[in-house]
């Protein structure tokens, strides 16, 4: 039985000045679903996430979240509606400690299961380093802190922009191993990844972007290696 999608993107175009980064991109995600967006560098993956999160406004098309139009809403408003972004490169606040970074994630006061205690339970290493300035953490720990920070906003939809970037494979596996725990309360996830294998393992549905267009979409376990390569590289 088809559920109403949690998020529905209908044919959006996105521009950086005169440069068009997305061409008529459509995507939908149901509650409790993990969707992966893959593609080469410059394909438009981050642009897509930024458009959903409200950091960029699409020039055409619609974005509907829980049935309401969000395209055009500023980022702080989008967060309050329940979409949180873990930005590319982590981007923790360097002037704040680990704990302060987490606390500020929760400053919008959205009700929900995620609390400081809960985040420390998920990522114990953060509890050990809670009073250190954020830049003192290793890459993997920073990524955990960035995810924890986004979770503190109690979102219904979590956007993860290249969380494996710059991290050792073992660290990446460690983080991805916690996805089930993260989703246990009914969260949906859109993960943008360059690590295709990881993306396919973690998600149920995959979209492949190529030069701003959806080149392929389908169930993660049904798409063949060849079709993914073709879509990824545009061969």
């Amino acid at each position: 039985m088809p559920e109403t999608p949690l998020l529905e993107i209908k044919a959006i175009d996105a521009f950086y000045g005169d440069f068009q980064a997305l061409f008529g991109v459509s995507l939908s995600i149901a509650p409790r679903q993990v969707v992966a967006v893959i593609g080469a560098n410059g394909a438009g993956k981050s642009t897509l996430l930024k458009s959903i999160a409200g950091l960029m406004q699409p020039h055409r098309g619609e974005i509907l979240f829980e049935g309401n139009l969000t395209a055009g809403a500023p980022a702080f408003d989008v967060l309050r509606r329940g979409i949180a972004l873990v930005p590319e490169g982590r981007r923790l606040f360097p002037s704040l400690t680990v704990e302060e970074n987490l606390l500020i994630g929760g400053q919008s006061g959205r009700p929900g299961p995620w609390t400081l205690a809960r985040v420390y339970e998920l990522f114990p290493v953060l509890a050990e380093r809670r009073n250190l300035p954020a830049p003192a953490l290793s890459g993997g720990q920073q990524q955990m802190a960035a995810i924890g920070r986004a979770l503190m906003a109690n979102p219904s939809l979590l956007l993860c922009d290249e969380i494996s970037l710059g991290l050792a494979p073992i660290v990446v596996r460690d983080i991805y191993a916690r996805l089930p725990q993260i989703m246990a309360e009914g969260l949906s996830l859109i993960i943008v990844e360059q690590d295709i294998a990881q993306a396919l393992r973690a998600s149920s549905h995959v979209y492949c972007l190529q030069e701003g267009r959806i080149a392929l979409q389908g169930s993660a376990n049904q798409l063949s290696r060849e079709s993914i390569s073709a879509a990824y590289f545009g061969v």
């Binding site: 999160a53 409200g54 950091l55 500023p74 980022a75 702080f76 967060l79 309050r80 949180a84 972004l85 930005p87 981007r91 606040f93 360097p94 002037s95 704040l96 302060e100 606390l103 500020i104 994630g105 400053q107 919008s108 920070r149 906003a153």
Partner: protein
């Protein structure tokens, strides 16, 4: 002993200068904005206090209960309505708009109040003095004002490092877009910072008005004292700013003792010397 008195007076007025500086350095820290109208806003606060004391009949210290919230509200409106529009990569708009604001405030006050010199009467505490030691005197008013300066700076530190608002300030200052992603409306955060700055300005303005004669034209000099205190002390460090204010105050006091015409010059020369020899200031924490 006389020199000790001189230095003591210099230290105490340094507290007032530190208050001038605190508001300036606070908004620079949060939004990289330097408000050229800062000094004129201090004078505006003095005039508002004058109006309040004259119409309501309370003394200047109690007028703070009205002046501080009034100025804070003005700061919020000013940032939200005007200054937020100037923020961006270009440094000209905020500079020129606040310069225009400075001219507007000065001339507005001139039109409304004339160029006559005024003073706020605070009553007996103006003349009370304590004797600390043989030949060493300290006025009640300068002492209170110094204590207030320390309280203000301590208060700002607590606010910045122990409260949610302070976290919001620091986060927004670090990374505006990610702060937005956290649900912070940066327009509101900036406006709160300006409101806070003007609240501090209000306190400084009232104490200034009790201490000396004021008229619409003395704003720029207060801006300069605040600015010098910030640079001497080092950017990004509130206690450094207090030290900067004290150094400035003491320099001026020593200069005045040598020759009254040298008071201001002595302060400027010390400032320029520190700029020449240690441009990052004495206790810097961030870079300009």
């Amino acid at each position: 002993m006389q020199w000790l008195n001189v230095i003591l007076q210099g230290v105490l007025i340094g507290g007032l200068y530190a208050m001038f500086a605190a508001g300036l350095s606070l908004i620079f820290g949060v939004m990289r904005l330097v408000n050229i109208a800062h000094g004129d806003l201090i004078v505006l606060a003095a005039y508002i206090s004058l109006m309040v004391t004259q119409s309501v009949g309370i003394d200047p210290i109690n007028s703070l209960l009205i002046v501080v919230p009034a100025m804070a509200l003005l700061g919020y409106a000013l940032q939200r309505g005007l200054l937020n529009l100037t923020l961006g990569d270009d440094l000209l708009p905020p500079l020129l708009v606040t310069f225009g604001l400075s001219i507007i405030i000065q001339n507005g006050l001139l039109e409304f109040f004339t160029a006559d010199s005024r003073r706020l009467q605070a009553g007996l505490i103006e003349v009370e003095t304590f004797q600390l030691a043989q030949g060493l005197f300290i006025g009640a008013l300068p002492l209170i004002q110094f204590a207030v300066a320390i309280l203000v700076i301590a208060g700002l530190q607590v606010l910045f490092y122990r409260t949610a608002l302070g976290r919001a300030f620091r986060a927004t200052s670090d990374d505006q877009s990610v702060a937005q992603l956290m649900g912070l409306d940066t327009r509101h955060v900036f406006a709160m910072a300006m409101a806070l700055s003007l609240a501090v300005i209000a306190i400084a303005g009232v104490f200034l008005a009790i201490r000396t004669n004021f008229d619409p034209a003395i704003g720029p000099a207060r801006l300069i004292f605040g600015f010098e205190a910030v640079i001497i002390g080092g950017l990004g460090n509130m206690w450094g700013t207090l030290a900067g204010g004290v150094i400035l105050g003491v320099s001026q006091a020593i200069g005045a003792q040598i020759d009254p015409g040298w008071q201001l010059l002595a302060g400027h020369i010390v400032f320029l010397a520190i700029l020449a020899v240690r441009p990052q200031g004495l206790f810097p924490r961030i870079s300009g």
